[in-house]
Symmetry: D2
């Protein structure tokens, strides 16, 4: 386990994510550029979607203690190449800890899990705020000394509540919103503000059992496995790019409440993996899918 202090002491790393139209020589040119600059590549991974003619790449290299210096040098050389090859790209260093907002409602298993992982150093982020339309999480927020904002939501006050949430996220420079069993549907306005930056967990194996009460639906259908799915939120309910899924075996003996209990473990796992991979800049979205570099 990497403790927060170990992270602070560790030499920093740069991560570059690229997607662009596929063509010959992409790996050679990016790797060549890094080699010319003396970069020590620690991990490199690429993927080609031959059907769509797309190329994706993730490169991670050591910053050798010269933190904050080699990135601009790299960019000076990289930007012309990126423009020429029509690359969409993002670069960051692993020490830049993204600022995260956690949303939840009355069920606390996912948020308790995320908070424990963050405090144990498993999630390289700063949790700026916990926002809930319920008060159950307040004590937990206090234990972790994280700011808590209670923002109730009713159909009548939804617009106002979201405005308040968005203002808070902006004020706190939040880059990633995690819906840890937040039981409200965000409006298109909200979603549009955080493209590929809102992660939700849905308690079914999507696309099966979209919408409310998926465990009840799974029980009614008599499935033999239940699942959970973490995904980026888009304007279509439960339809965004899937990041991770997992399943557990059930039997005729399991009632809805057993499914709910088994499912909690799945939800925790698929959500925490999605958050960790996002924070480690392992995920690229394209169309309605994700590339997850492992």
């Amino acid at each position: 386990m990497t403790s927060p202090s170990a992270i602070a002491a560790a030499p920093d790393r740069a991560v570059l994510l690229i997607d662009c139209p596929d063509q010959k020589g992409l790996v050679a040119r990016v790797a060549g550029l890094l080699y010319q600059q003396g970069a020590n590549i620690l991990h490199a991974d690429q993927h080609q979607d031959h059907e769509l003619g797309l190329f994706f790449m993730r490169v991670e290299w050591s910053l050798n203690g010269v933190d904050g210096q080699s990135i601009p040098t790299f960019l000076a050389a990289f930007e012309p190449l990126a423009a020429q090859l029509q690359m969409r790209w993002q670069i960051s260093t692993l020490k830049q800890r993204p600022r995260v907002a956690l949303f939840c409602s009355q069920y606390l298993h996912c948020i308790a899990d995320l908070l424990h992982r963050a405090s144990a150093g498993e999630l390289a982020c700063d949790i700026a705020v916990i926002i809930s339309n319920h008060r159950e999480v307040e004590k937990l927020a206090a234990f972790h000394t994280i700011r808590f904002e209670y923002i109730p939501v009713t159909p009548a006050t939804r617009a106002e509540a979201e405005a308040q949430q968005l203002a808070l996220l902006q004020e706190l420079n939040v880059e990633l919103v995690v819906l840890a069993r937040y039981m409200q549907i965000l409006t298109e306005t909200f979603v549009a503000r955080y493209p590929a930056a809102i992660i939700n967990v849905h308690h079914s194996f999507l696309p099966a059992f979209i919408g409310a009460r998926p465990y009840h639906a799974a029980h009614a259908r008599g499935v033999k496995l239940i699942g959970a799915t973490s995904h980026y939120v888009t304007s279509v309910l439960d339809d965004g790019p899937i990041i991770e899924q997992d399943v557990a075996r059930i039997s005729h003996r399991d009632q809805v409440e057993d499914l709910v209990a088994r499912g909690r473990d799945l939800e925790r796992i698929v959500l925490s993996r999605a958050v960790r991979w996002h924070l480690e800049r392992r995920i690229l979205c394209y169309g309605n899918k994700t590339v997850v570099f492992d």
Copy 2:
């Protein structure tokens, strides 16, 4: 592995399957009756659906070499009780090998797997016939010395083809029809003749991706796991009681053809389990679900 000859030599066993309205004393009365008759119970399992007020039981006992004799004795005592308690029940002995028809089309992985398992003694049945609308399986049928019937199907000849199939099944006393990737949809007329006795494999994690080309649909949706489902066929497409499901992890690297290849292993496994459990009289259907006693 139990070889066919080992089965022949083994002492026989009776299996009783019961479902009825739940009430006090059901286990006591059935077990008591068997005890009075000196039966040696080898396995007993029961299940209550508290929500629907239903009771399910499977009891397996030794026939002690007095094959064919103790069943009538048992029934003389059991039938009045069963009538009184409104039981639906079926009794059979494990030596009564059900007669099975295998249907397939051009893909042979499932049927090749079932034939290998049957020949290795894993499936306690007699395969009476292989029926296909293609000729690819003919050589395999010959290798296993199983009768092969080529019955082509077109929209225009469907009714006639099914009539021919049904006549054959009746002639051969077939009790179980297994659709081992048979790519034709059976009519309601056919399905009605074999209630809870037609097992199909669908190459998705139902209820996701019902209908044609589920691997293409799964690829398009960007799921991270693919699945396969075996189920009893009802008149609604891909909607019958689910018997078994399994999944395999995929990634962004997997193209549709990779999903198809991974999926073949899942299909083989969920179909062969379903057939085996059916033959061992482990499955009870109720509503649109199954109880599978393990």
Copy 3:
């Protein structure tokens, strides 16, 4: 999720666990006795080990609100039968919440998980004390308002430390000890005081990688799956009856620290399942194995 208050309000249930030499009529006689007494059986499950000639049974029935009354009535009739049939048995009601002691060292993921589950009503027990040879857990204990005892252990002070632990357990009427990544080996003296009542989690797929640093050993061997095992503690290290195991896929990309991180999720899951099953009286030990009724 069943909240603690829901448990308090729920009608109580009796659970009877039996193991004895197998013979005809055991199910009939136990079920018959309960039927005579008007018990409403909610779940009944039995298992026969044909090889060893042993019979195991778990019966759960409703106490109909007449809490504390029907148990003695039942026992008056049951005890002579049990003696006659050489049964070992234990009876309890689900409202009798066992008193549990949690032991841990510096790694908190397992204990944090158990505490969250207990507070969410997933574990029907009263956590009487947390004992650790480290102070890391102190804050967490305070948050859950559970008594914390810091008992350091060195080779020189082991005997004394265990004496102190045992005195505490006795004083607090502890019935179950859970070693939630407690990194000290208990002496035979300690283990003998809690037969089949100390649950440990080992961070490997036992019997592979017994002893210290199993993730390092797994990495060195180049396995493709890592595992975790929960088991009852006996006097032989990592050799007690296995309760639950689970595995996760790894690849050549995973370093030891990745195995450690992946493994934490496995450890949490196999340990929490074992504790829950023990509390629900689903486990019977025999020889060096467990029967886990689901």
Copy 4:
């Protein structure tokens, strides 16, 4: 599914596997060289073992229909670089179908599975011969029109039998030996002739239950999951580099024969995956481990 004829018609691909001491610029130099030659890279994957300072790479590129021509051109440029960077490497084209010998004894589930997969086009190889110390497989070999050699083995005749086997393998230009449940232990002499080119399946989750009768050992230990492992054979029994492992859940209800039956499905899957990955040149051995590029 790619049929054999589809493979024949498909444009060919080159696969280069490299391992060497890690240093800066390796990706850049290999990718740069391919780019200069106009190669269209279809897949590239690399791995660094930071602990051991090793670099591994697999590159797959299109041969554009100029089959057999671009490889020498590539090598003329690559070989000096490879020498300079101390690379161990191998290059092949996917149309070069390796010649394979299958060994088995009396259990046919693995070999039947491999033969079905080969005939269905899942395994890009030519099966040159089936060798067995039993005659059970003879009929199956005939069905697939593959040469069958019956070579009985006793302790007294082992040396002679192996000499006969080795002569046959040499005569038939066999490059890969697959032990599909071959129940004889190969001598060091045999193993030394096919380094990293003999694949075995062991019916346990190695390193648990090395040696004979692993299902019996697993049953005796009371494990809750059983496993199977495919690995390269080395001179130490069941100790070679692991290629693939998988597990299945069992319960107290499962007797040894149930473990054997469940295990057969695991054995088929882990063995067929290992063979496929080997044939697709996805595996690199180092130390006693494998890198498996997916």
